[in-house]
């Protein structure tokens, strides 16, 4: 079954919802592990650096964002670990999932309308199209 589950998360509300669903699935599978993947968006790093006094503060802020996600998983006694990489979120998640050959990808969706999706670009859409394993998009 799904031994290695990748949970792509950024700490937003929809990623917490995704975490809840991921916890439900993983709690049914013995010996499964959830990898929480956070992609630090290259386009946002300028403002992160600007708003932090040093590198440690940046890392701390990123980990703090993921705390509510980890809490959801801990509450259901699910094994989990956190991985932070840098890149363009959509392609970076796809690359990581395909290289690491995970069994399942779970990701939240912002629920954008057509215009927003044109302007902002949908990360979950890209992931669904290009990841080679099953993907669950959580609304």
């Amino acid at each position: 079954m799904y031994q290695r589950i990748l949970l792509a998360a950024d700490g937003s509300k929809n990623s917490i919802r995704a975490a809840q669903e991921a916890a439900k699935i993983a709690s049914l599978i013995p010996d499964s592990t959830i990898e929480i993947l956070f992609v630090a968006d290259l386009s946002k790093i300028k403002s992160e650096v600007l708003h932090s006094q040093n590198h440690e503060e940046i890392e701390l802020k990123r980990h703090q964002k993921l705390l509510p996600i980890a809490e959801q998983l801990s509450a259901k006694n699910v094994n989990h670990e956190t991985k932070i990489i840098t890149g363009d979120p959509g392609p970076a998640i796809v690359e990581y999932a395909n290289n690491e050959k995970v069994d399942l990808v779970i990701i939240g969706s912002r629920g954008l309308n057509a215009l927003q999706e044109f302007v902002l670009g949908s990360v979950s859409h890209k992931v669904v199209k290009r990841v080679q394993c099953p993907v669950i998009v959580v609304k």
């Binding site: 630090a40 386009s43 790093i45 300028k46 403002s47 650096v49 708003h51 590198h55 840098t86 044109f118």
Partner: protein, 488 residues
């Protein structure tokens, strides 16, 4: 050593070459526009971008970072160029490099970490505002066609990258709109109206200035400002590249490298420059990681100018203006608005002060210095809040001191004590949660102790930490039972 050269230069050859080419294409419009801001021929910025990029590839401390002619530096030069001309600018560029080299050698670069982030945020915002303001004379009230071209440029640079990313959108805007302007014989201002382009390699010469004290007096203030602003932006950029690539860099080597690059650039007829945030981000995003990417960017830039120089003068000004508006929007820190609401009021005030002073004086260095001083004052005010709590037991009165005791907090410290206490009481002053920093602090302790003694109370000091005890033992007079207050 060989291992490191291999890693920094040749570990990512394909990615570095491609990214370098992309950066060179994106650099051309900026180098020209920044020359126009500074009030010099476009060649001065193009030569500078070529020289600085090539030299920094070898001597910089941050592989993968792009340095060239920048807006921050160009804005500082405006009055110097206007009043004294290009030769003085070249001399100032060389002096800027010497100052940065000295900063690097004496490891002053690491002092940059003391610059509060509120000042840095103010710095980039002020820079964005100034770059935008410098564009206004080139497009407001000229002609309707000018507005149309600015608008089309903005549409191209913002919409096109959604569909096509291989060639930087600004360059595509330039190619399309310059062609339209030439073939349509449109009446638009061009780069050629503002300066010459020469299709030659830069050559070595010594700036034609009188070598005397008066010259030094003219260029020195500019060079200091350029050196500070250049290092500030370079070190900020290197932190950004560090984080984007997840690798470390050598800040002092970068400072020395910026110095060497500016010295050589000055002798080759280029204006002072520094690292560029926007271009470095483009480089990393395009896959550039090593020193090779910076070298390729510089070499490909000069190649393009030698080949296409004749066409560069025909670029319509509104297109360049549109690209610069994009650069200023990209430079501005848009999270500042939520920062203003969420950050401590003093930080927000420091940020605003930095921006206002820069915009008022058109001098980035003045804003940074004012911001640093203001936040230092706020910091002192904040940590000088000291608390003295009084507890009473059956045998004694205990004063618990919490906070930092130093020159700025002694007044509050002394006032916090109640000296109207009955005679012959045991008084304990507990410094377990306090630190005494300087002789003013020791003097204040003396004053309190001796005043209580004058009322025939018995005073015990306890809980001093090691360094507070050291300074008390060295300077305090209260240990002498007969000590009197000095008559001030």
């Amino acid at each position: 050593m060989v291992e490191r050269i291999k890693r920094e230069w040749f570990s990512n050859i394909r990615g570095d070459i491609l990214a370098g080419i992309v950066v060179a294409l994106a650099l051309i419009p900026e180098a020209i526009a920044f020359s126009i801001i500074a009030g010099v021929d476009p060649m001065v910025g193009l030569y500078a971008s070529f020289c600085i990029a090539v030299i920094i590839a070898f001597v910089g401390g941050r592989p993968g970072m792009i340095s060239a002619a920048t807006g921050a530096m160009a804005l500082l030069m405006v009055p110097l160029v206007k009043d004294y001309g290009l030769q003085y600018l070249l001399a100032a560029t060389i002096l800027t490099g010497i100052i940065q080299l000295i900063f690097g050698l004496f490891k002053i670069a690491k002092l940059m970490k003391f610059i509060p982030r509120a000042v840095m945020i103010g710095f980039v915002n002020a820079l964005a505002i100034l770059i935008f303001m410098a564009q206004v004379p080139h497009f407001v009230g000229i002609s309707t066609l000018t507005y149309v071209f600015v608008a089309i440029t903005l549409i191209i640079v913002y919409v096109l990258p959604r569909f096509f990313k291989a060639i930087p959108a600004p360059l595509i805007a330039i190619i399309i709109l310059t062609s339209v302007a030439i073939w349509g014989h449109l009446d638009l201002g061009t780069v050629g109206d503002l300066g010459r382009i020469t299709q030659t390699l830069p050559s070595f010469f010594i700036p034609d200035i009188p070598f005397n004290f008066e010259t030094l007096q003219i260029i020195f203030p500019y060079s200091v400002a350029l050196a500070i602003v250049g290092l500030l932006e370079s070190l900020l950029t290197s932190s950004i590249v560090d984080d984007m690539t997840g690798t470390e860099s050598n800040k002092n080597r970068e400072s020395r490298g910026q110095g060497i690059a500016n010295i050589i650039t000055g002798f080759f007829g280029g204006m002072a420059g520094c690292a560029m945030i926007g271009q470095s981000v483009i480089n990393v995003k395009s896959g550039g990681r090593g020193r090779l990417s910076t070298l390729v960017a510089g070499l490909f830039l000069i190649f393009l100018i030698l080949v296409l120089g004749g066409l560069v003068v025909q670029i319509p000004m509104p297109v360049l203006v549109g690209i610069m508006i994009m650069v200023s929007i990209g430079t501005f820190d848009w999270t500042s608005f939520s920062y203003l609401r969420k950050a401590p009021k003093t930080d927000a005030l420091v940020m605003l002060t930095t921006v206002i002073i820069v915009v008022a004086t058109h001098d980035l260095s003045k804003g940074v210095i004012a911001g640093v001083i203001l936040s230092a004052i706020f910091f002192v005010a904040k940590i000088s809040k000291l608390e003295v709590r009084r507890r009473q037991t059956s045998k004694e009165i205990i004063f618990d001191v919490t906070g930092q005791l130093f020159f700025a907090s002694v007044e509050g410290f002394i006032k916090a004590f109640d000296f109207n206490i009955a005679e012959d009481v045991n008084i304990v002053i507990d410094f377990s949660h306090a630190h005494i920093w300087d002789d003013s602090g020791v003097g204040a302790v003396d004053k309190v102790v001796i005043k209580y003694r004058e009322n025939n109370n018995h005073v015990t000091i306890k809980g001093l930490n090691a360094s507070s005890k050291k300074i008390i033992d060295k300077l305090a007079v209260y240990q002498d039972a007969n000590a009197q207050l000095k008559a001030h």
